[in-house]
Amino acid sequence: MEIANAFALLTNFVILPAITYGAQLSLGALGVTIVFGILRFANFSHGELMSFGAMVTILTTHLLQTKGVSISPMPTALLALPAGILATIVIALLEDQIIFRFYRKNRSTPITFTIVSVGLMFFMAGLIRIIIGPNEHNFADGARFLISFRDFKAITGLDQGIAIRQTQLITLLVTLIVVISLFWFIYKTRWGKAMRAYSDNEDLALLSGINPERVVLIAWIIAGTLACIAGTLYSLDKIYKPFIFMQIMLPVFAATIIGGIGQPLGAVFGGFVVAFSEVTVTYSFKKFLAYLGPTNWEPEGLVQLLSTDYKYAVSFLVLILVLLVRPTGLIPGKTI
């Protein structure tokens, strides 16, 4: 019983949140890694693309809600998501045509692209705050829990419960669908293979008659789609705050690099590595150990490696540890 309680506790507070958060990071990292693979620069504005996508989804959700449209018990946001994706693709393509294309034509260095993307990040952050304001938005509606804490306890008779929120399941299902379709696209279709070829060897791709502008276009469409889905799922699961998307670039970049830059599978992997480390390191294991230890004993401290305030630092810690052992990431990727 004690052991079951301990693991229910761990599942509820570490494993489930980490899997959900890992899925969200993976989607973000996939977008960064695809842009890196094709355009060869670290896109700092990807977080704001996520924010933009979530914002459009939220505004559409509010519109649908006032019109009384609902797909209860599912959250209305799922219905609004396609609109968000479309808007994010449009903004990503506009960014490319107005800004990045100019530097591509000039054959600018990757660092120039990166700095440009930092500038774009600030611009987009400002634009988003002008449109939706700096405040939080909670737009999750529909059923909140699939299994509530109390139900779980009643069914199993344990002291500790596992609550599964609907947004967690939605995050996992949507991520699964998105990742499978993405991998199908890049490994099985003609243009997907062309993208991998272009990422591998730009000159030879040109000699094979692959149109680079078309490859770039597809890369932005994918990046926009992934960004919007990642941003929406993250906000739906937690809450939408515009400024959070500047901070979230840290774990997203860490996930990208840990997995191996330009490696889609690595990005997914990296997302989960970062999420699990972040949640595990900042979780207090006091109660967990109390269940496992002798009766009527509990650890004196919180048994927490780092305070939650440091959770973003964990990404860097993991990043450094991984790079010390495998400098090109878990799945060998490009070197910068």
Binding site: R190, L204, S208, G209
Partner: protein
Amino acid sequence: MSLLMATGMTCGYGGAYIINDCALWVNKGEIAVIVGPNGAGKSTAMKAVFGMLNLCKGNVVFNGEDITHLAPQDRVRVGMGFVPQNRNVFVSLSVEENLEMGAFINDSDVSKMKEQIFELFPILAEKRNQPAGNLSGGQRQQVAVGRAMMTQPRLLMLDEPTAGVSPIVMDELFERIVDIALTGVAVIMVEQNASQALEIADQGFVLVQGSNRFVDTGKVLLANEEVRRSFLGG
């Protein structure tokens, strides 16, 4: 009229000319070999023919059409296939995918073409699902040539196809190149292994300081005392 006729080619990087009034030509079904000392501009001449460098003077005529100002990717479309010296395969793609990418502009039956390449290079059929980056140097060169052949070019251009492979593999590659020429494809290649390459050459060009020093059939060049002494090591 030769399939490829490049005349008076003059070009270079920055100010200096690397090749100066250089001429190259090759007929259908024949093999032309460019040899010469290091720095003679052999690779540059190939790049110039393929449009990877802009010519200051001279012009390139392919199949009766002036293509001097055509971009390299458009030259692929008119029937030229180019195998660069370095980075000539997609290392992270499988052998089969490399071939598919070669046929990217071909909407026609890719699988038939793929089978022909596998017939020409049986080892590639065996390794079709392996990433090209895991293959040996000689096998990689076969992938590179195979990739260029997928567009069914009328002219195949090879920049040092035997660089870094063993003598046995080199002989085999040369045999395959002869097979390709026998199907009616014109082949033009740059070679470091000059004497072996001239043996299979219908036409040989000895380039020195960016200009044609000797131009003749492979046999005549091999028999030429001065060519032997200066460029073929005795």
